[in-house]
């Protein structure tokens, strides 16, 4: 059996508990210190358990309560659409529910998501503080070029100046999660070039033009 993803490590519950303990410590989260942050074992909402119904449709908020207030959701929406705008490849992130997915993600009662929670919430707050500092507006109220002046400072973690390093870590993680949300949709599949999830009478392998491009021949006759 191969793990299903090359990019997201799978953790055992033991590791995850250890990891979570470390994360809690590093962010100084306790229920008393930050009641708005879901994030300590005792206050875990219930997950979907080990035997959820797999054939029904779920939407964010169905299994555990969501976290973001209206202002935070506006900021998340603006950043999602800045990263994944409408263009010739497909709709904007907000048109396919990515902001709601981000809310579901940071609200989830699982360790990986719990680790993301403070990073993303603090990052969102930072964006608004920065927007206010530079333009006296919230991030969502900025026009595209104004948003870009902030984004350009934090979009590349290895190029970011030291004062933007922490914000760049947030941006990297946000972009990766938003991409997970966007490309898991049918619109996202079209945008990235995934073709499938449809029945077919035969499997023909790569088309001739693709074989030619890579200078290979089909070896299974």
């Amino acid at each position: 059996m191969t793990s299903p993803s090359d990019f997201t490590p799978l953790f055992s519950r033991r590791q995850v508990i250890q990891m979570f303990a470390a994360v809690s410590a590093s962010f100084g989260i306790t229920p008393q210190a930050n009641a708005a942050t879901v994030g300590v074992a005792d206050t875990f909402a219930k997950g979907y358990g080990t035997d959820p119904t797999l054939t029904k449709l779920y939407k964010p908020g169905d299994v555990w309560p969501l976290t973001l207030n209206a202002e935070q959701l506006r900021t998340v929406t603006a950043l999602c659409d800045l990263i994944l705008p409408a263009d010739d490849l497909g709709p904007a992130a907000s048109a396919v529910g990515v902001p709601q997915f981000m809310d579901e993600w940071i609200s989830a009662p699982y360790p990986l998501q719990q680790e993301d929670n403070p990073v993303l919430l603090e990052g969102i707050a930072w964006l608004n503080t920065e927007a206010s500092k530079r333009f006296s507006k919230s991030f969502a109220e900025l026009d595209a070029p104004q948003q870009a002046t902030i984004a350009d400072d934090i979009c590349h973690i290895t190029m970011a100046k030291p004062e933007f390093r922490e914000a760049a870590q947030f941006f990297e993680r946000f972009r990766s999660r938003a991409a997970a949300g966007y490309y898991s949709t049918q619109e996202g599949w079209k945008a990235i070039g995934f073709v499938g999830n449809i029945t077919s009478a035969t499997f023909d392998g790569p088309p001739a033009e693709v074989l030619k491009l890579l200078d290979v021949e089909q070896t299974v006759k």
Binding site: M1, T2, P4, S5, D6, F7, T8, L10, F11, S12, R13, G47, Y48, G49, T50, P52, L54, T55, Y58, V63, L82, I83, P85, D87, L89, V96, G97, Y110, L112, A151, C155, H156, M159, E172, R175, S176, A179, A180, Y183, S184, I192, G193, F194, V195, G196, N197, I198, S200, T202, F203, D204, G205, P206, V210, L211, L214, D215, V216, T219, V220
Partner: protein, 596 residues
Amino acid sequence: MPIITPAKAQLEYDVAIIGSGAGGGQMAYTLTLAGIKCVMLEAGRSYDPQTETPMFMTGSQAPLRGAGTPDKDFGFYDATIDGGWDVPGEPYTQASSKKEEQFWWWRARMMGGRTNHWGRISLRNGPYDFKPRSRDGLGFDWPVTYAEIDPYYTKVEMLIGVYGTNSGMENTPDSPEGVLLPAPKARLSELVSQKFGKKLGIPFMPIHRAVLTKPLDWLNIPKKLHPGNQWAQKIVADSMMRRAPCFWATDCGRGCSISANYQSTTVHLPPALATGNLDIIPNAHAREVLVNDEGKATGVLFIDKTTGKEERIKAKAVVIAASSGETVRILLNSKGGKGIANSSGLVGRYIMDTVGTKVTGHVPILENVPPHNEEGAGGSHTYAPWWGYKDQAAGKLDFARGYHIEMGGSRSMPIGNNPVPDDLVRGSYGKKFKQDMRRYYGSIVSYACRGEMIPNEKSYCELDPQVKDKWGIPSLRWHWGWSEHELNQAAHARRTFTDLIESMGGTVRHDKTEAARDYIEPGGKIIHEVGGAIMGADAKTSVCNGWNQTWDVKNLLICDGSPFASNADKNPTLTIMALAWRAADHLIEQAKQGNL
């Protein structure tokens, strides 16, 4: 379907089978079609792939877009329910706090066990694999030869349906003409790997997987499987007819609602149930095999998880097929914790997993490839069998046993995770980011080592002296250790895959300064654990004989991976089934002679 509660069980059965996966499923199939009355105990709930498999469901329909969580380790849509690295209420412990001495134990508490989600990779052991000690002086020989198991491999392949081609390669057996189903066309990354692999002497070719690439020949196969038994032929033909060939969509790990791939729940259990000779009790957590004063098995003591009460069933013979760890646990917990079938002291000893390590690379020539459908048969189409037997025989390698290569790299369905490593986009966002994602998607390849581990004294499990599960049954405690053979093998694989990726002009995505101890997967992680009740030529040095029968308790058979005396690089499931079929035939023969 006679899926029953303990209250509905008969007073006595011919055979009680613990476990409903590959081994238990095969035993139930073979025994019931020979007219033997069986009861099967499954620790998990009943499960119906036809109605429960999330075929075609998309990430956007799942919580967290389908990403894996501790509740569903391999993703929301993975077929495993009530299972994973940790099962609530059923702890296991580690003897050591050192990571490299720990064992990851995957369990699936559900009808069909792990067969519902497995990779369907179905490789035969070769002649060397049954006599490894005779070849290199390490580990143990099996008390059986390839020639003895060969006909059972063929039967299993015909029953479950396996695609692939005959390679003619050393110690990589061919199947008889006409047995294998057509191999699916290779995907782009597989063809590219084949082309560049050839220059390095790595033979990429079609893999063998239990997926129907065309309908099974239900007119003729049942006659070959059950000569002279027309009743069995009809039942098997009816069951085969209901299986549709693959429609080239949906990952096999979700299970299959059209029964195109093998899982016990769609291939073994339906015909066994159709005989009327099988009762299945789900939610039955086996605690002990009951034995009488003469040392014969008389039945099974189990917990009915729906009531929490202890229940007993009686049988003339008992089969355990609960997976290595659980089988060991049942054996050691029997007789009120004194243990059975353990006069050798070897129950729990020589647990083996597969040596695993993976190298991932970014390959620029695979960027910006025109979109096309690469879903295929819901899993791998291509692998490279071990090609280094000659080098090993010539003493050129610093590890004794082989590995095969499994590969990934198709344009598979994005679900739950970022489909492209974030660093590749170099900080882009907006329109540029979407173009980058399209560019890099499909340009990541990965190669996984699946290698033979030699049994050793450090790798075993035993009862934990303190920890118990929620029913008060003692839990397992694990011990683990690799030898230099495994570490050197992983290092060889790492170098080989790195060379391959770099020969394509690609860049590997790992830290080249790491040592093998850092990148070899932990024990158990590949979920190929076997051993713990190894078979051998005599009762002093083994737990089972060559018929999967325990030496000490003659009417107790062990029909999962536990009797494996070695763990060839070939994935264990096909061999579990072949040995189980053969053991069942032997049991039927003994029953006829009145030896039970």
